[in-house]
């Protein structure tokens, strides 16, 4: 039976498939053919005859279609001389033909995006996430490698280092702490050095009390010569940095606003508590806030001359044995550092003649092989992690490289998704390609078409990526402690780079599909003989590569997380929980501690009060002393404490006894050592610790009265050093420690605050918990573990997206195959395991590749910890279960859907 409606529908859908017709054209043709058919039917023709006649008189569709295309390209101003010529084709102009071609590609691309929503979504999302990760990490790495670059004099600024080598030539130590007079001496002795700037951080100066406008704050304070403003590019907003008086400070804009709000701070007075006394300073100038990528950081800078001319450094000015000053110098642009080395070597030996002796006795060839002063370029400072006590902790270059690699990895995973899905989708597009080839498209045009498609998608993804970066940047800044700004990306050079990356991404993603698809043979395209996607070797390699990357990140994340939790949960040998640490201060001849002890007596919730001269987790490590002991250079940490110290932080004694405030000789002659000290110094309990008698008289040598368990007062990246604790009579030890009960902590803290107010009302009550201070030592590692975890989750989600799409497509083409298998008796389980194995085995292979690679790198990372987990089988088992599990579920979800379908339904549709 002839079905007119059906036939018209077919005729129209043929039109629709033809890219030459636009939507409006199709409606117009529809109207035409219907008119035509109606007229024929009115003339008493049968429906079939009417349809055939109408379509015949309409003529061949492809001819109309190509004329349609031409009609859109016709030059508007057809010259009149063309009058009798066949002007429709002659007037086609190459440029507009290209435009029309591209607009057609765009249209087809748009239709494909709409037609296959899931795959388009996965494609764009993959590229978006890939590009967003790349942009973020680009910002990060850019900031890292441009650290300090904003300084105009960057090429001439150098940090002075004192380097010590071992006899075998390996690096023993790089020191930044120099004598006060080193800077002036360098300028005097070396003509090429034009300027020096010295920096000093007073004890606890990262937490100084600052009184301004009748309010007291706790603020980090840096002491420095005002030459800093000539050396570094720190623009002055107000006031002058020509130092006129030692009582001058310079504020950052941020802190100036905090202290003086809208008033002009220049000329105003503020007081800083130095050595337990408030000293008045005048604000000399306000500078712009220092960018986060500067290795010199301060908000409040005090003229160093105050300390060297008035304060406690005065008595050390000529003392070359006193080393505490970070020294930077600026050279004349024309001067060469190499030429300065002989002078530096000579200078060191002039001031430290005993280095030559030590070098000779220890078997160094020259004194320079033992110790040397060197000048380190400013631009090298940020990444030099061998220097432990610089102004800012150094950054590990490895992390930047690692992040860069992760970004490339995520971008690649996104590109691979794109490639795989495009190849997989190709069979659906085979007819389009066949048609294009039939009407004369050459391979080059097809390649251009597919590449422009992927580039368009990449550009769309770029916009989405920029949007996501904008949203994510605040979080990312918080995580990395940086001040990254999106604005950087819009500077012309970076905009070009980004566009470059995007185009490159589009090209990389599109290049294989483009060449593979354009290579179709026309007859294959129409006969449906194409088997691409999923079964293609190239696709399989890509999947393996993708999952290897994802697995590497998973294993990395597991190990890093495990190590971090090991560190945090390791029994440190003492308890920092509920230990409130408050800085001690002297108040009118007495100290906060002496009052506090009394005031807190009987306050509910307060368990113990003690004081000590050192806190744990200090970035400079634990203070102590080094000395020669039985012919060896040894070192021990020393903490001076009040009587209840061990009880307050719950250090266990293995043997002997705790200090007793009632025994007067405990103050003069008792020490408690840790296990490491007992072992390294070969001591005995109740024995004499000889070398510690500082007067050299035997009767002053202390007695070991107890042995305490080793506890980790430093970061777990280092071993436990020997340590001893001495009982001190001083009430002015630097820290007060209060152990409080875990119950009703807020009310106990409130009582502490109240008691504080009664003692030192003009100082703000600020405290930290000891365990928090310990935790800050791992802040960097924690941040990294967060960043890596997020990257890893992104990577695995993206990979699974890709795999999901791939399976979905492969299965879509095999529905009938699965139907036939079912009809022939295969069970759902058999079908699922048969098809899922095809993909799961790829993931398994990735896992096998990722295992040794990850083992190598993680072992290296773990070696940076003195206390670490072992890379056991269980981590790999867990990683394997996660990767394979997620991949398997992804695959099975899609396959199951096909396997559960009613074969009758599937096969009927076929």
């Amino acid at each position: 039976m002839f079905n007119l409606e059906e036939e018209i529908k077919n005729w129209l859908s043929e039109l629709r498939r033809d890219p030459g017709f636009e939507d409006g054209d199709i409606a117009e043709m529809e109207d035409h053919i219907l008119d035509s058919i109606e007229i024929h039917i009115e003339a008493r023709l049968s429906e079939q005859e009417a349809f055939e006649k109408a379509t015949a008189s309409f003529g061949a569709l492809d001819k109309t279609s190509s004329e349609m295309v031409k009609s859109r390209t016709t030059n508007m101003n057809t010259p009149r001389t063309d009058f009798l010529a066949h002007n429709y084709s002659n007037s086609t102009n190459m440029l507009s033909a290209t435009t029309i071609m591209f607009s057609n590609y765009l249209k087809i691309a748009g239709r494909n995006i709409r037609k296959q929503k899931l795959f388009s979504f996965i494609n764009i999302l993959s590229l978006t996430i890939g590009l967003a990760a790349t942009l973020l990490i680009f910002l990060f790495v850019h900031d890292e490698i441009n650290f300090d670059k904003f300084n105009t004099n960057k090429a001439d600024i150098h940090r002075v280092l004192q380097v010590q080598h071992n006899v075998d030539g390996s690096l023993a130590y790089k020191g930044t702490s120099h004598a006060i007079s080193l800077g002036p001496e360098l300028v005097r002795e070396i003509p090429g050095i034009i300027r020096y700037t010295r920096f000093f951080e007073h004890w606890n100066s990262e937490n100084s009390y600052v009184k301004a406008n009748d309010k007291t704050f706790r603020e980090p304070v840096l002491y420095s010569d005002f030459t800093i403003f000539k050396m570094f590019s720190l623009p002055v907003i107000r006031g002058s940095v020509e130092s006129n008086s030692v009582h001058e400070v310079v504020l950052s804009e941020k802190i100036a606003n905090k202290y003086f709000a809208d008033e002009n701070p220049v000329g105003k007075t503020l007081s800083i508590r130095i050595d337990d006394e408030f000293v008045d300073f005048t604000v000399a100038a306000v500078i712009e806030n220092i960018p986060s990528n500067s290795s010199v950081q301060f908000d409040l800078l005090v003229n160093l001359s105050y300390l060297t001319e008035v304060g406690f450094l005065k008595e050390y000015i000529t003392n070359w044995g006193f080393g505490a000053i970070n020294t930077y110098v600026q050279k004349d642009p024309a001067a060469k550092i190499e030429n300065m080395q002989p002078v530096l070597d000579k200078m060191l030996l002039t001031h430290y003649p005993y280095y030559a002796e030590i070098a000779e006795q220890s078997g160094y060839k020259t004194a320079m092989d033992y110790r040397q002063l060197i000048l380190q370029p400013l631009m090298d400072i940020h990444f030099d992690s061998t220097v432990t006590n610089g102004l800012l902790p150094a950054s590990n270059k490895l992390y930047s490289i690692l992040l860069g690699l992760i970004a490339i990895g995520i971008l690649l995973i996104g590109c691979i998704n794109f490639m795989n899905l495009s190849i997989g989708r190709s069979s659906n597009r085979a007819k389009e390609i066949g048609l294009r080839k039939t009407i004369g498209a050459n391979r080059k045009q097809l390649v251009v078409q597919f590449l422009s498609e992927s580039i368009v998608l990449a550009v769309v993804a770029l916009f989405l990526a920029l949007l996501s970066v904008k949203l994510l940047l605040p979080v990312f800044n918080m995580l990395t402690g940086k001040e990254l700004s999106l604005a950087l990306l819009f500077e012309p050079i970076y905009l070009l780079i980004i566009l470059g990356i995007t185009l490159f991404t589009g090209l990389i993603s599109g290049i294989y599909p483009a060449f593979a698809l354009s290579n179709f043979k026309i007859e294959d395209a129409f006969s449906g003989n194409l088997k691409l996607g999923g079964s293609n070797t190239f696709t399989r390699i890509l999947v393996v590569f993708q999952f290897t990357l994802a697995t590497l990140l998973i294993i990395g994340m597991l190990v890093i997380t495990a190590q971090m939790s090991y560190i945090q949960n390791k029994d440190l040998g003492f308890s920092g929980e509920q230990v409130v640490v408050i800085p001690n201060s002297s108040i009118n001849q007495t100290t906060i501690f002496s009052h506090y002890k009394q005031a807190l007596n009987g306050v509910p919730g307060v368990l113990n009060v003690a004081s000590a001269d050192q806190n744990f987790g200090d970035k400079h490590g634990l203070g102590g002393m080094g000395f020669e002991y039985k012919g060896k250079e040894m070192r021990t940490g020393i903490i001076n404490v009040s009587a209840d110290y061990l009880k307050t932080i719950e250090i266990d004694l293995i043997s002997g006894r705790d200090f007793d405030a009632q025994i007067s000789t405990d103050y003069s002659h008792a020490v408690i050592v840790n296990e490491s000290g007992l072992r390294d110094f070969e001591l005995e309990q109740d024995g004499i610790f000889e070398t510690l008698g500082r007067t050299g008289k035997t009767e002053d040598d202390p007695v070991v009265i107890g042995v305490m368990k080793d506890f980790h007062f430093n970061s777990l990246t280092v071993d436990v050093e020997p340590m001893l604790i001495k009982l001190s009579k001083s009430e002015n030890l630097n820290y007060v420690m209060v152990k409080i009960s875990p119950e009703n902590m807020p009310s106990t803290i409130a009582s502490l605050n109240e008691a504080w107010g009664g003692i030192a009302q003009d100082l703000p009550f600020e405290y930290t918990f000891l365990d928090d201070t310990m935790a800050t030592q791992y802040a960097a590692q924690k941040e990294w573990s967060k960043i890596i975890s997020i990257s890893m989750i992104t990577a695995i989600i993206l990979s699974c997206f890709g795999l999901f799409g791939l399976v979905a497509m492969a299965i879509a083409g095999r529905r009938s195959e699965i139907g036939v298998r079912k009809v022939l008796g295969a069970t759902v389980v058999q079908i699922v395991s048969f098809y899922s194995w095809k993909y799961t085995r790829l993931v398994l292979l990735s896992f096998l590749i990722a295992m040794p690679v990850s083992y190598y790198y993680l072992e290296k990372w773990l070696e940076t910890f003195a206390f670490r987990i072992d890379l056991g089988v269980q981590i790999y088992v867990v990683a394997g279960i996660i990767t394979l599990g997620i991949a398997f579920l992804t695959v099975v979800y899609k396959i199951l859907e096909a396997a559960l379908a009613n074969p009758a339904q599937v096969l009927r549709d076929e």
């Binding site: 109207d31 035509s36 003529g59 109309t64 016709t74």
Partner: protein, 111 residues
């Protein structure tokens, strides 16, 4: 039957002439051409549309969609001022060619 070249050259004045009589749609135009030329000028219907679109693009005709009383969308074309001018030029051109041929073909061979 007119040659392909002649057909191509004559479509423009043909369409413009028909539309000068009032706005109309594609199918009507094809039928009108067939009717007037009594079949000696015959396109395949489909080929009319690219020409219409080109003329529209060149500004000689304008189009609008109208919903017919049967609910169908139909695209109507009408001649523009520019089109009328173009038609006049075309007419002059065709007439001058026509004049040339008339003269040529009315002349007796000189032997």
């Amino acid at each position: 039957m007119a040659s392909k070249g002649l057909m191509a050259a004559s479509t423009k004045p043909l369409i413009l002439s028909i539309l000068k009589g009032g706005k109309n749609y594609g199918y009507y135009i094809t039928q009108k051409v067939k009717e007037i030329s009594d079949g000696s000028l015959e396109w395949s219907d489909g080929m009319l549309y690219p020409v219409l679109h080109r003329l529209e693009k060149e500004g000689f005709i304008a189009s609008e969609w109208i919903i017919t009383n049967t609910g169908r969308r139909r695209k109507y074309y009408s001649i523009t001022e520019l089109g009328k001018q173009e038609l006049r030029t075309e007419k002059e051109n065709w007439m001058s060619v026509h004049a040339v041929f008339t003269q040529l073909w009315n002349l007796k061979p000189t032997i």
